[in-house]
């Protein structure tokens, strides 16, 4: 692996990790609201969150580009408040990954909350526990495996994100070129050998993530 390859792998892992950390609290909160509460606009929110799963990633990228760009509402806001440009920086990479992987986290965590037996929560309530305590000591621990599984899914999805990323972050070597984009570039240029090398590294990373996720659920199951 050359220094350039290391940089690409490091950037990809770093942005994917940051994206997963950023969406985790919001994703878990939304998953709980969707699993346990009835509220107006619930199905609308559900649909919007699922949109990146069904829309072509390039279309999501175009929407992000127009929202986060120099003329876009979020882009202008960030420029005015923080003086920070988002598009064509690593921040855009994180934004694209976050939006594309969010549904994976929410769906998996939601199922985890739904599978927590409500009778256990009711039991705790009858023994005098306040709702917050029930949530922290019963619901959250029982759903934790599913939440982590959702985070691993989201992380894996972020590692492979391409369509939205190339539009909103571009392919700037050393700055925004993540693994998927580097592989695409190599194929475009006919550097198939290098494309396969990067592909090999991706496969190892994916394997490691799945292994981690499996080990984690085993550990959880025998606890």
């Amino acid at each position: 692996m050359t220094a350039d390859d290391l940089q690409v792998v490091g950037l990809t892992l770093g942005t994917a990790a940051l994206s997963t950390l950023l969406i985790f609290p919001f994703g878990v909160a939304l998953a709980w609201l969707l699993a346990r509460k009835k509220w107006p606009g619930k199905s609308l929110v559900e649909t919007v969150v699922a949109l990146p799963l069904v829309m072509p990633p390039v279309a999501t990228g175009l929407i992000l580009l127009n929202l986060l760009g120099r003329h876009g509402p979020i882009g202008v806001f960030m420029q005015n408040i923080f003086g920070a440009e988002i598009v064509f920086t690593w921040k855009a990479v994180v934004a694209a990954m976050a939006v594309m992987s969010f549904p994976f986290l929410v769906r998996t965590a939601r199922i985890a909350f739904e599978e927590v037996d409500p009778r256990l929560e009711q039991l705790a309530r009858t023994l005098g526990a306040k709702p917050a305590r029930v949530f922290m000591t019963i619901t959250l621990p029982l759903a934790s495996r599913g939440m982590i599984a959702g985070a691993v899914w989201a992380f894996a999805r972020a590692l492979g994100e391409f369509g939205a990323t190339i539009l909103v972050a571009g392919n700037i070597p050393g700055r925004t070129t993540v693994m998927s984009v580097a592989i695409f570039s190599d194929i475009q240029l006919g550097n198939d050998g290098h494309a396969y090398q990067l592909l090999g590294i991706s496969a190892v990373l994916a394997f490691a993530a799945i292994l981690f996720s499996n080990q984690f659920s085993k550990w959880g199951a025998t606890r």
Binding site: L11, G14, A17, V87, T89
Partner: protein, 248 residues
């Protein structure tokens, strides 16, 4: 591990958008040649050059959305025309730097012999790979040419439109299509295809790679220097090394 990665990313941010840097949005096919030229330019005391490499239509879309580009180097005139119409490039600085030609390719072991492009109408060519004829430049050029020689309507049902000129080449290389139309530079790159016929420049469309300054560049004067550098003999030689045909 996770934390270390995050810190790494945050450190990366410091490298963004420092002064004295030129951002060049260039067609993906130019990647290797331009990286080499930029490194020579920097060594000879020029500014640091940062690239964004993608398909020309993607770059076109990004510049329209306000991307911070100083120079646009397109693989086709149409995308440059599009930005010129939108008033987003400085048309005084627009120059064609490279040219290319279309070739008909077949797999290296194919017995097919072409004496004229009209032979594409032969029914033994069941699948013909082209770049998407309404968005990929190589495909647009190929369609123009086939229309000009009057065989497009006949062969259109057998055309397999693909996502890029590279994909068209790969389709022929892997034997998934019988024949393809690609750029000469791409065909020369591959050992698994052979050029069955080159479209003569007198018959084919004019294929040029124009470059220009983007309107609103914060460092127009410095960017102009690099733009001029692209047309100096040393740079042209590098382009030729990578198979491009330079414009004298």
């Amino acid at each position: 591990m996770l934390c270390r990665c995050v810190i790494f990313v945050l450190l990366m941010s410091q490298f963004h958008a420092s002064a004295g840097e030129i951002e060049v949005f260039a067609a993906a096919s130019l990647t290797d040649a331009l990286k080499e030229i930029a490194s020579t330019y920097e060594k000879s005391g020029g500014d640091h050059v940062v690239f964004n490499f993608a398909a020309s239509n993607t770059l076109d879309m990004q510049i329209k959305a306000g991307a911070p580009a100083d120079i646009f180097f397109s693989a086709d005139e149409a995308k440059m025309d599009d930005l010129e119409k939108a008033g987003l490039i400085d048309k005084e600085t627009r120059k064609d730097i490279l040219t290319n030609s279309l070739v008909i390719v077949v797999a290296s072991d194919s017995p097919a012999v072409f004496t004229s492009a009209s032979q594409l109408t032969d029914s033994k060519f069941k699948k013909i790979a082209l770049g998407q004829p309404d968005s990929v430049p190589a495909g647009i050029y190929a369609k123009q040419y086939l229309q000009k020689i009057g065989i497009w309507d006949q062969i259109a049902p057998r055309v397999i439109p693909v996502e890029s000129v590279r994909a068209a080449l790969a389709a022929v290389e892997t034997g998934n299509t019988d024949v393809g139309i690609v750029y000469k530079t791409d065909a020369l790159h591959s050992k698994k295809v052979k050029i069955a016929r080159e479209v003569p420049s007198s018959e084919g469309p004019v294929i040029a790679y124009p470059a220009a300054l983007v309107q609103g560049s914060k460092q127009a004067a410095d960017a102009k220097k690099f733009l001029d550098y692209l047309r100096e003999p040393a740079s042209l030689k590098t382009f030729e090394k990578y198979g491009f045909i330079t414009k004298g």
